[in-house]
Amino acid sequence: MIKLIGQRAIASIFSLLVLMVLVFFLSRLTGDPAVLFLPIDATEQMKEEFRRLHGLDRPVLEQFWFYLQDLAYLDFGESLRKARPALEVVLEAYAWTLPLALITMALVMVAAIVLGSLAAFKTGGFFDRLVSIISLIGASAPDFWIAIVAIVIFSIGLGWLPTSGVGTPVHWILPVAVLFIRPFGLVVQVVRGSMLAALQAPYVKTARAKGVKNLPLIFVHTLRNGMLPVITVMGDQAAALLNGAVIVETIFGFPGIGKLMIDSILQRDFNVVLAAIMVTALAIFIMNVLIDIAYGLLDPRIRY
C-alpha cells in the first residue's frame, strides 16, 4: 500500500513539475501586470517600482529560482489582486468548491447506483430508458447552456430560484443540478454495464434460488461486486468536475476555485494561478489514493 502511494506520489510530482514550469514561463509571456494593475497615467518610474516590489524586474529564470525557494517553505507568493497570500486566497475558494463538488458527487453516486442497478435489472424497462435518455443529454448538452436554460425557466420564468450568488441553501440548487448531469450520465452507464455483468454471476442464481428478494439481491449481493469499475469512473469524474466548475461558477457567480482561476488568469495574477494549479493537483492526488484504498476495502482480493 505504502509502496503504491509512493509510486503515485512520484508520478504526480513529475506531472506537477512539468505543469508548473509550463505555466510559470507561459504566464510570464502574457504581458506586464504593471500595465494592468497601475492606473493608466502611471509614470514609467511607478511601473519600475511596481515591478521591483513584486520581483518582476529580474530575469525570468531568476524569478523561477526564487519561486522554487519560497515554495520549499510552502510560500506561494502574494496575490497581486487581493494583496494577500496566494495560498490563502486559493484555500478560501476551495472552501466553496469542495462542498459543491462533494454534494454533487454524493448525489451522482446515490442516483447512479440506484437508477443504474434498476436499469440493469430490467433492461428495456422504464428506468433503463430514463437512464439512457439522461446520459445522452449529459453527453450532448453543453453545461453552460443547461445553466442558462435553467436560469430562464426557474429564475426568470417561474421566479423560484435565485439567478446567482451564494447567500442561502437555495442558491446551491441550480449549480448542483447543472454540475450533476454530465457525471451522472457517464457513471450511470458504467453502473448499468457492470451490474449487467455482475447479475450474470452464478452466485446471483444461487441467491435467487434460495429465495432472496429482488431488492436485497441487487443492492446487497450484487452491488458490491459491481462497484469496482464504478469507483474508477467516479474518480475520473470528480477530477473532471473541476471543468464543469469553471463554467458553472462563472455563470452563477459562485466564489469557488473555477471562477478564481478564470479571474486570476484574466488579470495576470500569476501566483494565484500557480497556487490554484498545485492545490488542485494535490486534491486530485489525494482522491486517487482514497480510490485505491476503497478498492482494497471493496475487494479483499486486491492486495498492494
Binding site: 505543469l19 453527453a139 450532448s140 453552460f144 442558462i148 473532471a240 486530485i284
Partner: protein, 307 residues
C-alpha cells in the same frame, strides 16, 4: 450472413457500400443522425457564401425580434439578435467555424495520437514509457483549465484553439491505439509477417493499422462531440473564438446579457450544439456495433430474416 456471402464475388468496395447503408437504415436513430450531420455539414460548407450578407446585415429596428413569425421573412423565423441580424442566417454561418474547429482538432489529435500510440505499442519500453508519461501529464489536470491558461498566453484565435484542444485530446487516441497494438502485435498474422521478413513500417501500416482503425474512428466520432462542447465552453468564457468570427458557443455567450428579455438569442445556438452532439453520440453508438465484426450481426440479422 448469407447475403454477404452471395455478394462476395464482387469487388470489396461494392460489397462494403450497400452493406453499410442498409445497416444504417436498420438503426433509425443513426440514420436520422447521419442526415442531420450531413445537413450541418452542407450548411457549414455553403452557408457563409449563401447567407453571409444576411448574417452580418444589421437592422436596428429589428433588434431582438421575437421568433415564430414570418412578418419579416423566413430568415427571421427564429428571431433577430441584439443588432437586428437574422438568427437563422447566423446559426447557419456559425456552423462553419464550429465544425472547422472541431474537425481540425479531431483530425490533428487522431493522427498524432494514433501515430504516437502505434510507436508506443510497437517500440521498446523506453520510448513507450516516455510517451506514456507525457500523456499522463496532460491527463493529470482538468483539460479546460489547461486550455484556458494556454489560450490566454497564446492569444485566442482559431488555429491556437485547434492546437490547444488537440493537445488535450491526444492522450485519448494514444492510449487506445497503444492498448490495441499491444494486443494485436501478439496475434498470429503479425508473427507470420515478422517471420516472412516484413519491415516494421510495413507491419504497422499494413497489418496493425487496419485492425485498430475502426476503434479509433468510433472514438473520433464521440470525441467530435466532446471537442465541440469544449470549444463552445471556451468561446462562452470569452477566451475562444473572437468576433467577428462566430461559433454556436460564442453566440450563446453573446445572447447571455439578454436572457430576461430575449431568451432566443442564447437558446437556439445552444440547441444546435445539443442536436449536433446528440447526433454524433448516436452515430458513434452505431459505429461501435457496425465496425465490430463480432457485433455486426445485430444490424444484419433482421435483413437475413426478410431475405
Amino acid at each position: 450472413m448469407p447475403a454477404t456471402i452471395t455478394q462476395a464475388p464482387t469487388t470489396a468496395s461494392e460489397t462494403k457500400g450497400p452493406n453499410l447503408i442498409s445497416m444504417l437504415w436498420r438503426d433509425k436513430f443513426a440514420f436520422v443522425s447521419v442526415i442531420i450531420l450531413l445537413l450541418i455539414l452542407v450548411s457549414a460548407l455553403i452557408g457563409p457564401a449563401l447567407l453571409g450578407d444576411a448574417a452580418t446585415q444589421q437592422n436596428l429596428r429589428g433588434r431582438n425580434f421575437p421568433p415564430f413569425s414570418f412578418e419579416r421573412g423566413w430568415l427571421f423565423y427564429l428571431g433577430g439578435d441584439a443588432l437586428g441580424r437574422s438568427m437563422l442566417a447566423r446559426l447557419i454561418v456559425a456552423a462553419q467555424s464550429t465544425i472547422a474547429i472541431a474537425a481540425g482538432t479531431v483530425a490533428a489529435a487522431m493522427v498524432v495520437g494514433t501515430i504516437l500510440g502505434l510507436i508506443a505499442g510497437y517500440m521498446g519500453k523506453v520510448v513507450s514509457q516516455v510517451i506514456m508519461r507525457l500523456a499522463d501529464v496532460i491527463m493529470s489536470f482538468p483539460s479546460l483549465l489547461i486550455a484556458v491558461v494556454v489560450l490566454y498566453v497564446l492569444g485566442p484565435s482559431i488555429p491556437n484553439m485547434i492546437l490547444v484542444l488537440a493537445i488535450t485530446r491526444v492522450p485519448i487516441y494514444l492510449r487506445t491505439a497503444r492498448a490495441e497494438v499491444l494486443e494485436v502485435r501478439e496475434r498470429m498474422f503479425v508473427q507470420a509477417a515478422i517471420v516472412m521478413g516484413a519491415t516494421h513500417s510495413r507491419i504497422i501500416v499494413k497489418h496493425i493499422l487496419p485492425v485498430i482503425a475502426p476503434t479509433i474512428l468510433t472514438i473520433a466520432t464521440l470525441d467530435f462531440a466532446f471537442v465541440m462542447l469544449a470549444e463552445s465552453s471556451l468561446s462562452f468564457l470569452g477566451i475562444g473564438v473572437q468576433p467577428p468570427d462566430i461559433t454556436w458557443g460564442l453566440m450563446v455567450s453573446q445572447g447571455r446579457p439578454y436572457l430576461s428579455s430575449a431568451w432566443w438569442l442564447a437558446f437556439w445556438p445552444g440547441l444546435m450544439i445539443v442536436i449536433a452532439a446528440l447526433s454524433l453520440n448516436l452515430l458513434s453508438n452505431w459505429l461501435r456495433v457496425a465496425l465490430d465484426p463480432t457485433q455486426r450481426w445485430r444490424l444484419e440479422a433482421r435483413r437475413t430474416k426478410s431475405v
